[in-house]
């Protein structure tokens, strides 16, 4: 089914939109989730949460590229699950427990300053990415957006793993310099 038709189903509040989404994108989303979580059950949970999030956000959104829209949601949810789990693990030590208790004082919603900071950082990253060659850009996003393994990146870029590693290393150094110039504290 075409993406436009699926989005239309969401807009019509037709529950078959979720089935159509799952039929078309489940494997794609599971891959993104699994790259973050390395756990099948957690990945499935993340993908199911993605469907719910998509149901809640369309409308008002009308994504032009559904895969990118869904992938972004899955990525965010998976990262949240990952962090939540790691936080739970940290409960083991008393020191970690104290930190966890103190972290409870914080609001879940990010502070407006943090939001602004994140927005500025995103804009800086967009600028940085435009300076990169396509190969380096795809390697960078493959690694840090989709969390693909070096082997996978090397395969779809058609280069060796060693070259991929070098490419990523140089891109990271360039990013560091770029962000310093932009005034970000590292």
């Amino acid at each position: 089914m075409q993406d436009e038709m699926i989005v239309e189903l969401y807009w019509q509040r037709d529950e078959s939109a979720i089935k159509a989404t799952a039929d078309k994108y489940e494997n794609y989303l599971l891959k993104i989730a699994y790259n973050v979580l390395s756990d099948t059950e957690d990945s499935k949970e993340s993908v199911n949460d993605t469907y719910l999030a998509a149901w809640n956000s369309i409308p008002p959104h009308r994504p032009s590229i559904l895969s990118a829209f869904l992938g972004k949601i899955t990525r965010r949810i998976s990262i949240d699950i990952y962090r939540r789990k790691n936080r739970t693990k940290r409960k083991a030590g008393e020191y970690a427990l104290s930190l966890y208790e103190l972290s409870g004082m914080r609001d879940n919603e990010p502070h407006p300053e943090e939001k602004l900071d994140e927005k500025l950082l995103t804009e800086a990253l967009n600028r940085f990415l435009t300076t990169l060659k396509p190969e380096a850009r795809s390697a960078f996003l493959g690694r840090y957006y989709f969390f693909d393994s070096l082997k996978e990146i090397a395969r779809y870029l058609g280069i060796s793993e060693g070259k991929t590693k070098t490419l990523l290393h140089r891109t990271r150094l360039s990013l560091k310099e770029f962000l310093k110039k932009e005034g970000f504290e590292l």
């Binding site: 794609y28 990118a68 992938g71 850009r137 795809s138 493959g142 840090y144 957006y145 590292l186």
Partner: protein
């Protein structure tokens, strides 16, 4: 921490970058079905080859088993015949002191038909080919052969031969009743064992049949192994027509 902030910030980067990378990634995803298709194509090609090659190979194998002589010419072309090799054990044959021919030569140097039949397969084939003009005789006689009396059939078969082909030995087809040791699944005779060479009757039992043989077999010694190349009329599987005989002398 900065790394977390970068990871979070990347969530909102321009979609065109994500799509660009995703296209590359999806190429990898599509690579699998392409490989799968290649595999299916390879399997199909293999099946195709098997379907055509196996029958050809089988046909070649069958051809290599067939005797080198013109066995198909004995019976009329519209009759389905097959020629196979049969082995006959001559346990019950009366011993003939004159039979001391070497392996592969048949018949021994007898006074009568030896000119036509002696020795090599080519000559034997020639005789049989000569007899092929008597196709109708064989076919006509086949039912008679089944009914039972060999002695009656023999002259009938030979009459045509002698008329049409003067080289046929003495117009006397020798008949022998044999017991079929084994039938193959499709009903063809696998090999034969002599039971009583001069038996006067032929049973309708499929385990018995008689061979019409244009060669003198009366001198066969006991224990000799006789390989008979033969044809038979599919309508009368109890009568086979020997086209060529090879003898392995008994102890």
């Amino acid at each position: 921490m900065m790394e977390d902030r970068i990871i979070d910030a990347l969530s909102d980067i321009d979609e065109k970058f994500i799509i660009e990378t995703d296209k590359l990634r999806s190429k990898k995803r599509q690579a699998f079905p392409v490989r799968k298709l290649s595999l299916i194509a390879a399997c199909a090609a293999l099946v195709f080859l098997c379907a055509f090659l196996i029958p050809i190979l089988q046909r070649n194998t069958e051809n290599s088993v067939k005797p080198p002589i013109g066995e198909g010419e004995i019976l009329s072309s519209d009759t389905k015949n097959d020629t196979e090799m049969a082995e006959i054990s001559t346990d019950s044959l009366p011993e003939d002191p004159e039979t001391d021919e070497s392996i592969g030569s048949y018949p021994p140097e007898t006074e009568n038909e030896s000119d036509n039949l002696s020795g090599n397969e080519g000559q034997a084939g020639g005789d049989i080919n000569g007899g092929s003009s008597n196709d109708e005789d064989f076919e006509a006689d086949a039912p008679t052969g089944n009914s039972g009396n060999i002695e009656e059939n023999a002259p009938t078969d030979n009459s045509g031969n002698s008329d049409k082909n003067p080289e046929t030995p003495e117009s006397e087809d020798f008949m022998m009743t044999v017991t079929v040791d084994e039938f193959t699944e499709d009903g063809f005779i696998h090999y034969l064992i002599f039971s009583s060479p001069d038996s006067g009757s032929v049973s309708q039992n499929r385990k018995s049949l008689h061979i019409i043989c244009p060669f003198d077999i009366s001198h066969l010694t006991e224990g000799s192994t006789v390989t008979v190349y033969y044809t038979y009329d599919i309508n009368d599987p109890y009568t086979v027509y020997a086209t060529h005989i090879e003898i392995e002398k008994g102890e």
